[in-house]
């Protein structure tokens, strides 16, 4: 076990006129090496949940346990977890402040004591991981990059401190499809090759369906589903739609076929799965 949110509630402006309960009695366990997608519509408490995960917020009720230890009772554990969890908010490029890409990326690793050649190597590797050429980008101003390039530099700056867990809030928003795919394959590599734990929040159901191994669905501050993508997109479609979420177009189309009596066997999450399923059915016929 890695992270355990035990019966956690969080209320903004507690005991004030504008008191808002953002999370209600959440119980969530996240294990090492998981790839989790968190979905839910705007205002359902996703961002609050992310901020609790790495101790940026302290729960109003309940405990955040890391390996069984309450992080808010143990300063050292709290420091450790912040270093170990790379948290990327939406539009991370808004936090840029350095004059060159390489200085921007160096900020994190410098803070944990890297210098000289080792620091330079970290910058090189991080840029490579996000698909940007070190020599072409290192001296450019991060403020004069295109939107997609900025996003990738921001991700590189998180990768540069080599966190064990990556928490990514809408990482691909407004990236073009190919940069998006590139970034997703980087994220997949981090999960498969480097055994990192990935927690991704996104409104993009195609991404969630294709990548993650477990989906947590939130509504009004509560976890209402927690299951594999297959199960969620097969058995809980109506529930998803009733809370304003949608299916990936391909999943939706195959589900429509099933509705009119075609023997589509299970939830189809990718184009490749749909192709194989249809070819199989054509052959049978």
């Amino acid at each position: 076990m890695l992270i355990h949110l035990k019966n956690v509630s969080y209320t903004y402006n507690l005991n004030m006129p504008f008191e808002t309960e953002a999370l209600k009695s959440i119980d969530l366990m996240i294990n090492r090496g998981e790839f989790i997608g968190i979905i839910g519509h705007t205002g359902c408490g996703k961002t609050t949940l992310l901020q609790l995960l790495n101790g940026l917020l302290e729960p109003t009720e309940g405990q955040v346990l890391i390996d069984g230890i309450n992080i808010h009772r143990n300063k050292q554990k709290l420091r450790e977890i912040r270093k170990n969890i790379g948290l990327s908010f939406q539009y991370p490029e808004n936090q840029f402040f350095e004059e060159t890409v390489s200085k921007e990326i160096a900020f994190g690793p410098k803070n944990i004591g890297l210098t000289g050649e080792e620091l330079e190597q970290r910058i090189k590797i991080s840029l490579k991981m996000v698909g940007l050429d070190y020599n072409a980008y290192k001296d450019r101003s991060p403020f004069y990059l295109s939107g997609g390039e900025m996003r990738r530099v921001a991700l590189a700056s998180i990768l540069a401190v080599d966190p064990e867990i990556l928490v990514l809030d809408e990482p691909t928003a407004s990236l073009d499809p190919q940069s998006c795919n590139k970034l997703l394959s980087v994220i997949t590599d981090l999960y498969r090759k480097y055994k990192k734990t990935i927690i991704i929040v996104s409104h993009n159901m195609e991404i969630i369906a294709e990548l993650t191994k477990r989906i947590v669905v939130m509504e009004k501050g509560e976890i209402v589903m927690d299951d594999t993508p297959k199960n969620i997109f097969q058995y809980s479609i109506q529930r998803l739609e009733s809370i304003g979420l949608s299916l990936p177009p391909i999943t939706h189309a195959m589900n429509e076929l099933r509705k009119i009596g075609k023997p589509i066997s299970s939830a189809i999450l990718t184009v490749e799965e749909a192709r194989d399923e249809i070819l199989k059915l054509v052959e049978k016929k």
């Binding site: 990236l175 940069s179 409104h203 184009v271």
Partner: protein, 276 residues
């Protein structure tokens, strides 16, 4: 009508580093057009959008909005009255403490009388379906509702063109649907010309025409069916085709007689029903 005549635009952060983000663009956007603009990051989409209302001026060439040149400084407010802009992040565009004040903001600026202002705000809020929330505070709204407030603000100005630069990229699926529904309605019922920048191919597929930008040039223009039948070319531009079209291509490759330019679900289901 909006006309780009040989428009080139250079960004420069210093003397040596000049980047042409638009390069000899010639483009006519006609009244009532319903156009999606797609292109890789850095292809010039946002730069193009910002030229339409004179937020950016061409380094070379001219942009005309109904025969007004955006370079004529004394005409710029006439131009901006005609053109409503909607950007990615609605929080950057909301200015007032209530929704109706926000919608009225532009009208106050141009000195519209109170009686007319009320009428226009009522009308605009009704069209975007937010009449019931007129006294709410903007920060209490969902992302989709916020974008609708901004669209209402543009409508109240009697704008004839709506330029939307990835307006749904921060929205949840429900918000995305809301925005597309509203702009389709505006185009159809109010004859408002829509130019819609997006990274979602599934959204672009719902427009009448698509313009594809690459390295500051228009490299392809046509109906969604025409555009998405050129999958290999799009891939070479860092773009993609919608999931449904990808499935059609995969099936065609495997010997099924499915046209490879299917772009919507109903059509796909119709074809599949004849097979399985």
């Amino acid at each position: 009508m909006i006309r780009f005549e040989n428009v080139t635009h250079f960004y420069s952060n210093n003397q040596e580093h000049k980047v042409a983000s638009l390069s000899k663009i010639n483009l006519d956007i006609k009244k009532g057009d319903f156009i999606a603009v797609i292109g890789a990051n850095g292809s010039g989409k946002s730069t193009l959008a910002r030229h339409i209302n004179g937020l950016l001026l061409p380094t070379e060439g001219d942009v005309f909005v109904e025969n007004l040149n955006t370079k004529e400084l004394d005409k710029i407010w006439d131009i901006r009255k005609k053109i409503g802009m909607v950007f990615q992040n609605p929080d950057n565009q909301l200015v007032a403490t209530t929704i109706e004040d926000d919608v009225a903001f532009g009208l106050e600026n141009i000195g519209i009388r109170e009686e007319e202002m009320k009428q226009r705000v009522d009308w605009a809020l009704k069209i975007v379906g937010l009449s019931g929330l007129r006294n709410s505070e903007p920060h209490l709204l969902s992302g989709g509702q916020k974008q609708r407030v901004i669209i209402a603000g543009a409508l109240a100005m009697r704008t004839s063109y709506l330029i939307l630069d990835e307006p749904t990229s921060m929205l949840d699926p429900k918000g995305r649907k809301e925005i597309l529904k509203i702009i389709k309605k505006l185009n159809k019922e109010q004859n408002i010309t829509v130019v819609y920048i997006t990274q979602f191919m599934s959204e672009a597929a719902q427009f009448k025409n698509i313009i594809v930008l690459d390295k500051g040039k228009v490299v392809l223009a046509g109906s969604p069916k025409e555009i998405f039948s050129q999958a290999d070319f799009l891939l070479s531009l860092s773009l993609e085709i919608p999931q449904i079209t990808r499935l059609a291509r995969e099936l065609a490759k495997n010997g099924l007689n499915v046209p490879s330019n299917i772009i919507n679900e109903e059509e796909m289901i119709k074809y599949l029903c004849s097979y399985i």
